[in-house]
Symmetry: D2
Subunit: 353 residues, 4 copies
């Protein structure tokens, strides 16, 4: 993967800009109040209350909510908090923790057992097959937690039925289910039949990504009380308990107070949809259907230099004279830039045709 | 230690408020630019440049600068990055990592060998004595890194001569020296003969605390290149590499662009000085001379309830009919509140006398 | 501590010789049978059965018994198996895990909180005082397991009443109690009112040292079933699950079949008693009363060279013109050598007087 | 994998019996000498001397030799000793550390990156391909050590040319090469063109398995001095530094004094060869050519119950109406039993044909 930085507008990722203006305004508005620290501030309490009452439909006795500054922290703390030393995580090979977190999970002492993915997703069949092959105890680490991402690293999403099926396998086989929600916003926005409440019902821990949905930083971990004992120690021990926890509380309260979070997610998906449709109309193949805010397009290698001059993106994979490039939209993606890019793509095709 | 929350103004700590307004303004000003991520943004580069050229007088080839979101993260990453698995940290018993980080250092696998403190500080004599008693290898973990805090957890500061002496012992005995600078601002403001450049010369790693000096979050780790290899992997692996690293870069650039950091530190110290002087004049004993922004006052236990109604503070220790309370000032401490408190203290004494 | 190796007979430690001949004979006798491995062999089963029925008076449903090759392994596995990542061990400063295991406990991620010792032992008062000072959660690691050694590193033993008192504190404060039994044999031999069954009743985990009581290697960990879930995974994960587990099973069966273990322990204690009494009669001061197989004698520094020529021992500590030396006897200590040494000590004194 | 225990003679593994009689005799012969401990005994010194001078043709300044009680310990200590926290191991999916050590490597904090195997072996092509896909730093753990087993877990061996090619890739790409030698004896016995000296030249660390070649326990780790600094701390910290290190020293001295080790390995291979040839002659397919002491035979499922009555073995895999069973021979395998089994196999086939 090589980052191309030569052109003005970036479709590299969904964290190129700062925060949504409303979040910054809220930070300024509340800046001078004196607050207690390390998660006990009024704004974190408010954010938790909003999430509990409006979105999760839970009480604090049912699930706990903890804010941490990064997705890696959310994953490693969630996993380390509920596994015994010999227990392992099960994750698809394309999962973020499998390949993009610098060994953060293993650094907490736990093995990740790989499962073949299906369009970035874990299927009950592949999961059960892997479980069946990992039963030679105590010589093998004991599978105990299933990790999935929604949206996945390939931009696909789990349907409600898929998540129910996976959850059923986990419960039958006494496995915890964790959902990495770095891009949970776009997943929910893409899929009307799945809600935050469903995640409470179907999983044991999940986290709601703020960084990729308009916050300066911050992810909200939602964890069933039954397995949340001592969770704040884990957050502290891994350096993720911010003294000024208000910085995350204020932003999450604002994101969820009146649905801003979902509104921003819909924008990101819509921008990706427009790009994807235009590519298809112009005869470019997509490597995967665009379900959320990531567009994977096959670009003929001779066209690649022109693409590189026009915008920033990641080269994902080389394949038979083509390059799969990843284009990412976000809450901040400028509609005008999307339209301009689409026009340019049309011109490129016309010249070529 | 019991937090007392009953009265309006808080002298609990130096992170009760949000950020200095100039930092928030800078975040807004730069909010819409597109930046690359994970430490590669322009603002982090600018902050590094300002620190290198104006304060450290170093080149990027000599020392590396990394921003992380919390002090615990700064300590655990710094330590984990330069120790082999069997190497130990040496720290005074009152050191933050010894007693207030939920075992974060041990969680990375390293033992902390305790040294008796002298007013919160490590002395060459106590250090050497401890080293001499920890040489029965390989049955004992090998002392390899000396951790000190400046200012210390008791508010005291190291003089230049003291730091030189400690540094000399470390070099003679092949130990690395790490300075926890959560409160480095007030330490430098209290002590004209010590500079950031001196820290480069006398230590191997140190970090500059932003959270306690007006930032929303962020600490800048300064590490000698010779031991910094792969440092960014450690930052990533521990969940401290923020996608939007700009949030720390912008704030540090603003804090150090024209000396705001030191100005804020001087304010904090001055507020503490005024409180301490008034206490002494009113016949209260201080548990330690007030060198920075922490005031440790002995309050007769029968007066304690009145203090608790008047302001927020930590009870530090019970001692013979008295309670040592810790009062902390900060960059945000309101001068008027200090004056009001001083007046109140004078009244309390008069009534009593 | 400097090992002196110049003279023929060694009182350095209780593991200078190989194994008691009966144990070697048993290994040879059973050598050719085919056994399953990794703890499932018939001899380990037999050893467990003997311990359960003759000594612990327990069923396998109440406590599990696991054999591991070393004391460090026994300690680190026992501790790692029953703590969550943020939980800490509480141990006296002279405890083996505090200072002589190369940071093995911290390497599994856990902090050891120090308690001042009383003649090598932990007292309820010192324990409670330490607990009370370690409650500032989640900033402090949570005390969860109390580690003691019996006999202690200073050769002292816990009376039944002392162990009961400590156990009561642990239960009241929800702490697990672990007894390091590297020298449990000599402790029990020195103290008629304490039995292996008492350890089952008063502790949560303890281990019975074989290495220092006549085995080539091997320690038997006895752990309450309630906290033993998955224990064999821990043993495996730390490299302590021997393929030929028979090597430990055979030896433990032999040691406990008819009381050999206790007989050997009595011999070690008796040898130490004779040495200690002679030293006292000859006017040497003991640094501590000799309760088991370790004798701590104060030797005037001008006599030290003669002692060094005469036998091997550890220099324990320098003190005002004297050196405290540690003399250790064992199951293998030759009675004749003890008598010869006593005669030599008498001569040294006479010449001097 | 299900262990079948119903029949008398076991071909389950190569550690079903105790030790070769000569090793036990040596233990008895040396039992009464007083030795210093923790690796400093005379017998360990002798064993090291024999290995250095007769087999490795090295000086102690070039490579260090450490004895540890188990293969898991050898692997985890070797790996933990030479990696920084963010560095990863690269191993084939069938590698012992990948799937049969209860997550022992990950428990030391390191990720294992999987490589597809070729008959249990790692090929330069597969290795380089994996390396090329793991370069997105610092988001990916950094590949630093290549782990292979010789003989492999499938009984295959590396030729000298294969090992040279792999070593060349490692050196070019700055990777350390570790050889798990649990079954190094049978690998060398099967392959005249590879010697222990070659392993010194071509690898950075390797270990010589004693447990599977006639010792009660013990593996000898051979490590280049350049990366061996502090190795004894690692051994101690992981509980693998036996007080009575003589138990391993005596056995290794005996195994290597006059070639017993290789003689026993040849026997194991010869027994496997006879079984394999007979199977083939009788029309059974082998899943892999038998290069060492492991025979993988495809048994029709309807014959399986008869096999289970006749001997002990592991079921390795189910495949299209057949079961791949693993039959293992060892230094202790009784020639008569091999002949009896071969006869029985012939009868089974005749009845069936």
């Amino acid at each position: 993967m090589i980052v191309k930085l030569s052109t003005p507008y970036s479709f590299l990722d969904d964290y190129s800009e700062g925060a949504h203006p409303r979040l910054l305004e809220a930070l300024i508005r509340n800046n001078n109040t004196q607050q207690t620290s390390y998660g006990t501030d009024d704004y974190s309490a408010e954010a938790r209350h909003i999430l509990h009452t409006q979105h999760l439909h839970t009480t604090p006795e049912e699930v706990a909510i903890h804010f941490v500054p990064s997705g890696t922290a959310a994953n490693l703390i969630s996993i380390a908090s509920c596994l015994r030393p010999y227990e392992a995580v099960v994750a698809v090979d394309t999962g973020h923790i499998s390949c993009k977190e610098a060994g953060a999970i293993e650094a907490t002492g736990h093995k990740i057992i790989g499962v073949p993915h299906a369009r970035g997703k874990m299927t009950p069949t592949n999961l059960e097959h892997t479980l069946d092959r990992n039963q030679f105890f105590p010589h093998m680490a004991k599978p105990r937690l299933v990790y999935i991402s929604n949206a996945t690293e390939l931009g696909t999403v789990y349907t409600r039925a898929e998540l129910q099926a996976l959850s059923a396998v986990c419960r039958r086989r006494e496995l915890l289910l964790l959902v990495d929600g770095a891009r949970l916003g776009v997943a929910l926005a893409a899929n009307d039949d799945l809600t935050l409440r469903d995640l409470v019902d179907l999983t044991d821990i999940f986290w709601i990504g703020g960084t990729k949905m308009g916050a300066l930083l911050g992810e909200a971990i939602v964890v069933r009380r039954a397995i949340a004992e001592g969770f704040e120690f884990h957050v502290k021990q891994h350096g993720a308990l911010l003294a000024k926890s208000r910085v995350m509380g204020v932003q999450f309260a604002e994101l969820f107070r009146d649905g801003l979070f979902f509104e921003l997610a819909r924008h990101a998906n819509e921008m990706a949809r427009r790009l994807a449709e235009n590519f298809v109309q112009m005869g470019f193949a997509l490597d995967a259907e665009t379900e959320t805010n990531q567009v994977f397009v096959l670009v003929p290698d001779d066209l690649l230099p022109q693409f590189e001059e026009r915008m920033r993106f990641y080269e994902w994979e080389k394949r038979d004279g083509h390059t799969v490039i990843r284009i990412v939209t976000s809450w901040a993606t400028d509609e005008t830039q999307v339209e301009k890019l689409n026009q340019w793509v049309r011109q490129v095709r016309e010249v070529r045709a």
